[in-house]
């Protein structure tokens, strides 16, 4: 007995050592590599998931009033902590640990080998999903609670079906309320498997599956008033809420998280039964051979491999699942949402030059405007005419709506900004970021009482509560001078005609309309000019150069100079740089560009093109000539591929 206990203790130590070997590096990777703050900033934008949370009984009551309410509430609360990188990493690691522990318990209950690589597989799925900047916390909790219900049910001391089955039904009702259909199905399938393979009784297996579906049907019909199909999908991998925006690889990981334990336990139990039968038959025919004693080194070696295998699986998974473009998008998004413009441009300079993402590009242009570099550096980055005002999508995504809300607020197109944010709120829930935007919009509009309603809701947000308090203080006692100036600047740009209808869909209509309202709206001017430059409408660029007088530029911005030079050349008009207000440096560069361009007709065309990319890739000369940006990476020696937007 004593030696058995010692063996168990040894097994437990190895088990926990295995968990630590996997989870400590995973925690460090999540903390320092993934950075959950990027996820937090991505909620409702680059991440379709919006884990809303609000302190107080009302939100708790509302959450618990829907199927899977407990998971929604818990995951909503825990997700707020993603705002701190270490806390986010810890939460995800603990969630992964919880799954791993429950998997181990199930394997133990079913007397199956607790191979660390197998036990940790669902946890690895969770870690990989987070590393791909997805948000599987809700799914992880759902699966965990489903497994927990199953374990609790299996460990009940009563074995009579007349007691167990009504209790099962009660647990399904409670489980559906707390964890949704996803958790109930995990519970039901595990119960069916244990009934079939452990207790060797088939009819309770059928009963639990049928009873679960029937109970969900009843609950959907009479309690939650949901269509049955919707009720069946709550918190399952088939729910659109859970899988929105996911690539196939992420969906596979999510499906593995849900299906692994039931499938693994069922397969191994079947295998075990077949093996036992075979062994029994063989034992009857031949004498049992004693195994040769294993060497200590071999035992340690095997244990070491078993311990390190999950880490190896995780490492390989991370290498395979790494999604560079997504990380870039998430990082750029986080910077833009926090208005860290210089940091955003730093990141943008390191983006791969062969590809561009319209949402990123939109944020880059905004960063360029805020750092005063739009008419000087916009062609240093991949460009797409749709990026300026995100004109590609017919029905804007949440990210587009938020980006446009921010941009239109700064432009003074306040009613459209309010519409964008209002729609986000109506469709995605009370996302703190959106509440803050709406409060600012109402403050700018002078609707303090409405702003207070948004701020009172924001007060209940664990992270944004302080922001709300500061804004309420501002409303009571006045805002800081810098903020007050910002409010006044936007007010001066807001259209005043109450009968005027929102500007048409074209970028030009919107921006010229705003300039009519306030000719000194610098952002509208720069975006209008950027739009003309991108669409190569030189006549309009030139026609609007007179507006420069309304602003305090030190000389003509570089890209306007370049556009003017091209325009005059095309019209065969003489060029006098001094008279035109063009700097000598720009004029010389233009001559050099023309000279090199002419040699494209003869000689080594690729070499000439490479030289143009290297020397003029970020100029408007190049963009106008080739219809694309030809930027080289910062500090790169050789030419890079031409950049074209996706």
């Amino acid at each position: 007995m004593k030696s058995r206990q010692a063996i168990d203790v040894g097994g437990h130590s190895r088990y926990w050592a295995g968990q630590l070997v996997l989870l400590v590096p995973a925690f460090l990777y999540l903390w320092l590599g993934v950075d959950s703050r990027l996820l937090y900033r991505g909620f409702g934008t680059v991440l379709a998931d919006v884990p809303v949370f609000s302190s107080g009984w009302l939100f708790l009551r509302q959450s618990l009033g829907m199927p899977g309410g407990l998971v929604v509430y818990l995951s909503g609360y825990l997700s707020q902590w993603y705002h701190h990188a270490w806390a986010g990493a810890l939460i995800v690691t603990l969630a992964a640990l919880l799954v791993a522990v429950l998997v181990e318990r199930h394997f133990t209950y079913a007397s199956l080998p607790r191979t660390p690589a197998l036990v940790c597989l669902p946890a690895i799925c969770v870690l990989l999903l987070v590393a791909q900047y997805r948000h599987p916390l809700g799914a992880c909790l759902t699966v965990s609670l489903g497994l927990l219900f199953s374990l609790a049910f299996e460990r009940l001391p009563w074995h009579r079906a007349s007691l167990r089955l009504p209790l099962y039904c009660l647990l399904v009702v409670v489980g559906y309320a707390l964890v949704g259909a996803g958790g109930v199905f995990v519970f039901a399938i595990m119960t069916a498997i244990y009934s079939l393979f452990v207790r060797r009784r088939w009819w309770p297996s059928v009963f639990v599956i049928v009873a679960s579906v029937v109970l969900i049907r009843g609950l959907s019909e009479y309690v939650y008033l949901l269509p049955f199909r919707t009720a069946l999908r709550v918190a399952t991998p088939f729910s659109a809420d859970l899988t929105a925006g996911m690539k196939m690889s992420s969906r596979m990981l999510l499906a593995t998280l849900y299906a692994f334990v039931p499938v693994a336990v069922a397969v191994m139990l079947v295998g075990k039964m077949a093996w036992t039968r075979k062994e029994t038959r063989r034992a009857g025919k031949t004498r049992d051979k004693k195994g040769e004693p294993r060497s200590r080194a071999l035992v340690f070696g095997r244990r070491g491999v078993a311990l390190l295998l999950p880490v190896l699986v995780l490492a390989v998974g991370l290498a395979l699942a790494y999604d560079g473009p997504r990380k870039d998008a998430v990082q750029i998004n986080a910077c833009a949402r926090q208005q860290q413009w210089s940091r955003l441009l730093e990141l943008a300079r390191d983006l791969p030059k062969g590809k561009a993402n319209i949402a990123c590009n939109h944020d880059i242009n905004r960063a360029l405007y805020h750092t005063g570099r739009l008419p000087y550096e916009m062609f240093s980055f991949p460009q797409n005419p749709h990026a300026l005002l995100l004109t590609r999508e017919r029905r804007p995504s949440s990210l587009t709506q938020l980006q446009l809300c921010e941009l239109f607020t700064e432009l003074g197109n306040l009613n459209t900004a309010e519409k964008m944010a209002g729609e986000l709120l109506a469709t995605d829930g009370n996302l703190a970021l959106v509440l803050e935007k709406l409060a600012w919009i109402q403050i700018i509009k002078g609707q303090a009482e409405t702003a207070r309603v948004y701020l009172n809701v924001l007060l209940k947000d664990p992270i944004y509560g302080n922001t709300a308090r500061e804004m309420l203080n501002g409303l009571d006692r006045g805002f800081a001078p810098q903020r007050a100036a910002w409010i006044e600047r936007i007010r001066s740009c807001v259209p005043t005609d109450p009968y005027g209808v929102t500007y048409g869909g074209s970028v030009e209509q919107i921006l010229t309309g705003l300039l009519e309202q306030n000719p000194r709206n610098r952002m509208a001017f720069e975006y209008l000019m950027a739009s003309y430059l991108l669409t190569r409408q030189l006549d309009k660029v030139i026609a609007n150069l007179d507006r420069l007088a309304d602003f305090d530029y030190e000389g003509m911005p570089t890209y306007f100079e370049e556009a003017l030079l091209i325009w005059r050349t095309m019209r065969h008009e003489p060029i006098d740089p001094a008279a035109l207000g063009i700097s000598l440096a720009t004029y010389k560069r233009y001559q050099s560009f023309l000279q090199i361009s002419r040699s494209l007709q003869s000689g080594n065309q690729q070499a000439t093109l490479n030289r143009l990319v290297r020397e003029f890739g970020s100029s408007y000369f190049f963009y106008y000539g080739f219809g694309r940006v030809g930027v080289a990476a910062r500090g790169a020696a050789g030419p890079r591929p031409l950049a074209r937007a996706e």
């Binding site: 949901l226 919707t230 009613n415 109506a426 109402q442 209940k460 209808v501 929102t502």
Partner: protein
């Protein structure tokens, strides 16, 4: 489990119970029922919501409020000529009045005045008493239930819209039908026969289940295969007149109101319940005019509605030309239910006379008054800050603007069955969020200061992002079960009642599924 461990657990549980009991006793005993020594402050206390200085129904839920005066502790004494006074102590200023005592006090003081004394304990320990707040308890009750729509302010897209019912005597609120029951669909224009909750229609629109109308009569719910707009049931319940509209939403670039709505074309149709067919009498389906907002006189002899000229040729452009010049007249047409005959159209009040667009007429159940709203232009008062409530005395033919209006939109009013109360929507709290207010209308047609529908949490409205719109007062809870309504909303239509194609049929292109209005 060992006995020692069980004993420990017992000790812990007993200790916690004692602590809770002691704390409760302490809190209760700390709260004084009266304050003997205080200094008087010669002004009203700052409270929110402002429930006082008006007439309230005897069957209203406790008017819980928040005292906004700074202080260490608060005591509120509610007393009247008869009945036991109520004392409410609070540490935070939130005053939650006990339901039973409140009901008893109000019931004992119908037609009398109740007073509310607010005492605030200052930092120094002394108490101050503000001027008493008073209310008159009306002799007439308000109807028991308010049916309303709850949703966030929506533009093009939405997710969660529901029709709810609220018992006004307490705070119990339950869902009648929610959009999530039929694929996050939209639902609106709930309408009853008079103030009776037996018969109800609700217009539905869903990408998954199509557009339709639910018709609930008692516990029976049926689905009509077309969506009804604003609906008015004849008092006999034999027919319902509803609007058919080609509605478009658009947005303003400037001004306080972002959203606006225009009916490019509209007409009224009539559903005959027994025959299960739709007719379009030419009186209110003129091809050159826009007819909308039907309502019946309580005797069922007149159908009132609003009618405006179509000012545009192009019925595709949104908004159409001159949309801001469109003004509706108030018209009526007589009807004989015995012979099913309609009389000629009479103009009751023209936009030319008022200079404003006349919308949403509702006749009081006693037939004495006609309550309507007027705004600068168009057909959708909730999006018009200029919209105000007006009352017409149908016996004298005169009308006047009510004193209960604000600088923001007032609209969507409903009479109580005894004609003494109105519930209406107002955006007076900031201009964006619609809230429901109740106002007492006396025999002379004077509407008294409105009060917001009270909530259990006095700060409920301070952090409510949803709008309470289209309030309808009814005598009891909706008879049809919510499960039956939800199930029928997902089922196939059982009543096929297509509107006959006539010259009056709206000619504008069908609306896109996302077009919606509040």
């Amino acid at each position: 489990m060992s006995y020692a461990r069980r004993a420990n657990q017992f000790v812990v549980v007993a200790g916690m119970c004692s602590l809770v009991a002691a704390l409760s006793f302490g809190l209760v005993s700390c709260a004084p029922e009266t304050v003997e020594a205080y200094t008087e402050v010669a002004r009203d206390p700052d409270v929110r919501p402002d429930f006082f200085g008006t007439v309230i129904p005897a069957n209203i839920a406790p008017l819980n409020f928040q005292v906004l005066e700074p202080g260490q502790a608060y005591l509120v004494n509610i007393h009247a000529g008869t009945g036991k006074p109520i004392a409410v102590a609070s540490k935070t200023g939130a005053v939650r009045i006990p339901l039973k005592q409140w009901r008893a006090l109000l019931a004992a003081n119908r037609g009398q005045t109740i007073s509310v004394d607010v005492f605030v304990k200052e930092a120094g320990g002394g108490w101050k008493k503000f001027q008493s707040l008073t209310n008159t308890v009306a002799a007439e009750d308000v109807d028991d239930v308010l049916v309303f729509r709850l949703m966030k302010p929506i533009y093009n897209w939405w997710k969660s819209i529901g029709i709810y019912q609220r018992r006004l005597a307490d705070y119990r609120t339950s869902v009648v039908l929610h959009g999530r029951s039929f694929g996050e669909g939209c639902l609106n224009c709930h309408s009853f026969v008079g103030n009776e909750p037996e018969t109800l229609t609700i217009g539905l629109r869903s990408a998954e289940y199509g557009s339709s109308t639910l018709l609930a009569q008692g516990n029976t719910v049926e689905k009509i295969d077309s969506k009804w707009g604003y609906t008015a049931w004849h008092p006999s319940g034999k027919l319902a007149v509803y609007s058919l509209s080609k509605v478009r939403q658009f947005f303003h670039r400037g001004g306080p109101q972002v959203r606006d709505v225009v009916d490019l074309d509209s007409a009224l149709a009539c559903y005959m319940v027994e025959r299960r067919e739709v007719v379009c009498p030419p009186q209110f389906s003129d091809k050159d005019r826009l007819e909308t907002y039907p309502t019946w006189s309580p005797d069922g002899k007149y159908l009132y509605f609003c009618s405006g000229p179509i000012l545009w040729e192009d019925r595709d452009t949104v908004p159409p030309k001159n949309y801001e010049k469109l003004k509706y007249d108030l018209c009526r047409v007589s009807y004989d239910v015995a012979t099913d005959t309609w009389g000629p159209v009479e103009t009751v009040l023209s936009a030319e006379q008022t200079g404003l667009s006349i919308l949403l007429p509702r006749v009081s159940p006693d037939g004495r008054f006609l309550l309507f709203c007027m705004c600068q232009y168009g057909c959708f008062p909730i999006y018009q800050p200029s919209s105000d409530l007006y009352l017409m005395d149908l016996t004298a033919g005169t009308y006047r603007k009510l004193a209960i209006n604000s600088n923001y939109s007032e609209s969507w009013h409903s009479w109580s069955s005894n004609s003494r109360w109105i519930a209406f929507s107002s955006k007076r709290q900031g201009g964006l969020f619609t809230r429901t207010f109740l106002s007492y209308v006396d025999e002379t047609g004077t509407a008294h200061k409105p009060v917001i529908v009270p909530q259990e949490d006095p700060c409920y409205y301070d952090a409510l992002l949803e709008t309470h719109s289209t309030p309808e007062l009814v005598k009891g809870e909706v008879k049809a079960g919510r499960a039956a309504l939800a199930r029928t909303a997902r089922s196939a239509a059982t009543i096929v009642a297509e509107a006959p194609i006539s010259g009056a049929t709206p000619k504008a292109k069908p609306i896109e599924s996302w077009q919606e209005r509040e």
